[in-house]
Structures are given as C-alpha cells and as structure tokens.
C-alpha cells in the first residue's frame, strides 16, 4: 500500500493525454449525448397527454416545455422526464393549459366547408370531433381552428358530437356550446329537418340545455289548382299525416262537387300549427271560384282566381279575417269572371237540375244552417239564377219522414228560407223567390232505407 502511494506521485504525466482524451471525447460526444437524451425524454412523455411539447438537452440537463391538462399530468410528465436514463436535471418550463371561461365551442357549415372552432378539452377530443364531422358529412372540407383549454363541462365531447350530427341536417348554419348552453341556427336541408333536430336535442347529455334553436326549414308548401277546362282539382305539396290527408281529400270532394280531385299530396312533418284549420277554409274559398289557385307556404295563404259574381268576391274578402287562424297571413287576389249570357226560364231550370244532380245543398244535421261545404254549389246556383233575371223561382224544402210532421214541415221551411236568404245576400231581388217547405209530404224515394231518406232530404228549384 505504501508502494502504491509512492508510485502514485509519479502518475501525473499520464494526466496530460488523459485531459487530451477528455477534450476529444467532449468535442465529439456532446451533441450525440444531447440528441440521445432529448429523444429518450420525449419518448418518456409520449403516453402523457400534453400540448406544445418542446424538449431540448443542454448537456445532460433537459429543457422541458409543455402545456398539461391537469396538475397531475404536469407532475407525471416532469417525473417521467427526470426518471429517463441519463437525464441529470430537468428545467421545468411546463404549465397548465389555460382555462376557458366560458368554455365555448362551435361548428359552422357553409355550402362545402365545415369550420370547427373554439375550445376542445383534450387533443383526443379534438381528433374525435374531426372524425365525427368527417363521418357525418362525407366528402366535405373540414377546417380545424379549435384550440385547447381546460374548463369543459362534463360530457362535452358527447354533446359536441351530437351537435355535429345535427349540422349534417343543415344546409348551412352553426351549432355552438357555451359552457352548458347549446345554440343552433341555420337552414335545414329537408322539410321536417327542424323537427328532427328538435327531437335529437332531447338526447343531449345531462346538464346541457338548449339556449336557442333558430333553425329554419324550407317552406311547408300546400298547393291546389282548380282547372275549369279539365274539370279537375289538383292537390300537391305536403300534409302532416295520413289523418289530415283524409280530412283534406274528404273536404275537397264535398266542396268541389263537379271536379275530379287529383291527389298528389305527400306526407311530411314540419307543418305549421293550425295547418288544417287554414287549409280547409282556403279550399272553401277556392271552391267558390270558377278558376283559381291556392298556395299555402308556411303560415302564408295566397288565393287567386275568378269569383262567379260580384257579391261572392266581396263576401270572400270579408270572410278572410274571420275564417283563418290567428298568426296566419291570408292574401286573396280575386277578380270576377264576366257574367255568362242570359238564358230563358227553361234553360235555367235545366241548369238548376244539372247542378243539383251532382250534389245537393247540405245543412247541419237537424238544423237550418247551411253547411260551409255547400258554399261552392250555392254560388253556382246564384250564378244560374242571375242568368234568368226575369224568371221567378220557387225554392222548395223537403225532409225525410223521421220525426214529427210539424217539426219536419218547419225544418223544410226554414231550410228553404236559409237558401233564399243566401240568394238575397248575393244581391238577387227577394221578390223573385219564394221559399216553400213541404216537410216529408213529397218523397222522391222510399223512406225505409237510409239511402232513400238521404234522397228525400233536399232543396229543389222550380223556375216559373
């Protein structure tokens, strides 16, 4: 041992080449060591969710910059880098991702482009939302302008994915989340798209609420055209369901007694409220026109055509405000068709008989109130009466044999009078008409069958 100590005093000359070795080693290996350590440190944090990671080595010290999404994540990343083999010190340049308040996210659709913007809570969520957007709307350009931020509401990703699904139903528009409030705007792609979106929004994750749903839909169109040449009533456009479809068809066949009803209607959701209550009176107006068109677009009704005589046009205009539901806008562009040439009494009688052979004047059951379905027929009868201005006309009321004779007599008189009143209101002189009730005394068919009774309940016109 003493020898070793003595010899060691002569070991110093070797230090010169040793230092030379050291200088060369430091010269050649420093950058290689730094690159290797930076790579090792980067791989140590690759499974930790971080944003804006910057890793560089200074000797064996790592300069580590990153944004973490939680305090635990930040500590975990620092520990992982410090524990990487070969790392001496970690210069901590990490911080937490900024917190967004309110946490806002949005997706906007233009014709051929979707832009996602606002905040996403994690890079994975950001990627997922991009995938959802791609899946929902195939082949569209998607622009990612989302940043990352903390403070997202619970179930944010599910809510955003659901909203992206709704964006697929829009032609253009925007869906947005602000904290837990959801808002939508734009134009639905299809009729009923607005309703489909409203239904889907019921599945929003718990905690989210719809602050604004301003999605508009294409107009809900119903169209009817009365063609006097082809003698058809053509119905097209949409009705809300089969039930309403049946109601519209039934009402049309009663009101348009001489026209063939051509049914091109389709069913679709998205009808405005009060659709039936607006369409039925509108068809009633159309039935009073010789030729005309009815267009219902959302809550806007437009009727145009020719009334049969002057007073009818005035009555139609006066009735518009009363007959349609509130919040509906009705415009009527009604002109009066030129009066047909006068005819003599016998032709007049023939015309009355022809009209009444197609249908008959209807009243409310057991009462002397004219059914609104008969207004079109009454207008045609008035027009006929106008063609023979010199003839006097007896309006005869008949009932079936049900009930007491006196009651039937009274009902037949009152019904004949109701028709007479309609004629007088139409501008015809009252002295040309007499209203007579015959009760059940002049049946034209057997009162033993329902069909026979229906034939016996009638109004007849006798031209003298």
């Amino acid at each position: 041992m003493r020898g070793l100590f003595r010899w060691s005093s002569k070991w110093w000359p070797g230090v010169v080449p040793l230092v030379l070795f050291w200088v060369i080693a430091a010269w050649s290996d420093t950058t290689a060591v730094e690159a290797d350590l930076a790579a090792k440190a980067a791989s140590a944090v690759k499974n930790i969710v971080l944003d804006k990671v910057k890793m560089s080595a200074d000797g064996r010290d790592i300069d580590f910059e990153a944004e973490a999404f939680s305090e635990e994540g930040r500590h975990g990343a620092l520990t992982a880098v410090a524990d990487a083999p070969g790392v001496r010190l970690v210069n901590d340049g990490t911080r937490l991702v900024p917190e967004a308040k309110p946490f806002v996210w949005s997706a906007e659709r233009e014709v051929a482009k979707i832009t996602l913007s606002g905040n996403a809570p994690l890079p994975a969520v950001k990627g997922k939302l991009m995938d959802v957007a791609r899946d929902q709307i195939k082949g569209i350009e998607i622009s990612d302008q989302m940043g990352l931020a903390r403070g997202a509401p619970v179930n944010f990703a599910d809510a955003a994915a659901l909203l992206l699904g709704q964006l697929g139903k829009l032609k253009d528009g925007k869906v947005a989340i602000s904290d837990s409030a959801v808002s939508l705007s734009g134009m639905a792609r299809d009729l009923g798209g607005r309703e489909a979106i409203a239904a889907a929004l019921k599945n929003l994750p718990q905690g989210f609420s719809v602050a604004a749903n301003d999605v508009k839909a294409p107009p809900y169109i119903f169209y009817a055209n009365k063609d006097p040449v082809a003698v058809t009533l053509t119905l097209s456009g949409y009705v809300p369901d089969e039930n309403v479809h049946a109601i519209v068809l039934g009402s049309s066949s009663r009101k348009f007694f001489s026209e063939k009803v051509v049914d091109n209607l389709k069913t679709s959701v998205g009808a405005p409220a009060g659709f039936v209550n607006a369409v039925i009176p509108a068809l009633g107006v159309l039935s009073r026109l010789s030729t005309g068109t009815l267009v219902v677009s959302d809550r806007e009704v437009k009727i145009s055509g020719d009334a049969l005589y002057e007073a009818a046009a005035a009555q139609i205009h006066a009735g518009l405000a009363k007959e349609f539901p509130k919040e509906w806008q009705v415009t009527a562009d009604i002109s009066v068709r030129p009066a047909p040439a006068p005819v003599d009494a016998s032709v007049c009688q023939q015309l009355f008989s022809d009209l009444l052979s197609k249908t008959k004047i209807r009243f409310l059951t057991g009462r002397a109130t004219l059914d609104s379905d008969s207004t079109g027929l009454l207008d045609h009868l008035v027009e006929t009466a106008l063609r023979c201005p010199n003839a006097t006309i007896e309006i005869a009321g008949h009932t079936d044999s049900d009930g007491e004779g006196a009651a039937n007599q009274s009902l037949s008189e009152r019904r004949a009078q109701a028709v007479l009143d309609y004629f007088v209101k139409a501008g015809l002189p009252a002295d040309r008409f007499t209203a007579i009730g015959y009760g059940s005394t002049k049946p034209v068919a057997s009162n033993d069958t329902d069909d026979g009774k229906a034939q016996n309940r009638r109004i007849e016109f006798l031209v003298r």
């Binding site: 003595r6 010899w7 060691s8 070991w11 080449p17 040793l18 290996d29 420093t30 000797g59 010290d61």
Partner: protein
C-alpha cells in the same frame, strides 16, 4: 452513471489502458515525484470537483463535461494502480532471480 458508462465505454477503456501504461512506467521512472504539498492540494481540488459534480451545481454542458472528466479519471487511476502493482511484482521477481 450507468448511462455515462454505457455511452462512453470506449473512452473509459482507453483511459484504463492509459492508466495501466502510466502505472507500469511509474515504478521504474526517474521522473520527478509530486511533492506532498502538491498531492494534498490536488486531492482537495479533486474532492471539490467531485462535490460540485455530486451537488449538480454546474449547469448544462459544463456540468456534463465535469462529470465526464471525473468519470474518465476513475479508470485512469484504477489502470495506474494495476499497472504499478504488476510492474512492482515483475521487478521483484526478476530481482529475486538475479
């Protein structure tokens, strides 16, 4: 440490060989010995450098270079020790024969 050895093993082996040669020569050389005072001074310097390395007070590349220097010194000294010991043994055997 393990990383440093694994990364620089070639250089460390070189230092061991260098130390062995120096130790081999030191036994018979007439070169001037380092005085005791110098030995103490150098020991203090070495201790100070080791302390700086252990406490990691030297930053960045300088810290790495310091660690590398100290690490290279270890095989050198070990090589010197083995070389001197072996040479002394060889010399003693040849003297005994002679």
């Amino acid at each position: 440490m393990a990383y440093m050895i694994a990364f620089h093993w070639g250089w460390l082996l070189g230092c061991l060989v260098l130390g062995f040669c120096m130790g081999w020569v030191a036994v018979v050389t007439r070169a001037r010995s380092v005085s005791k005072r110098w030995m103490i001074a150098l020991s203090v310097l070495a201790a100070a450098l080791v302390a700086m390395s252990v406490l990691q007070v030297v930053p960045g590349r300088f810290g790495y270079w310091l660690d590398l220097l100290l690490l290279m010194f270890v095989p050198y000294l070990v090589g010197c020790g083995i070389g001197s010991q072996l040479r002394a043994w060889v010399v003693m055997r040849s003297m005994a024969r002679g």
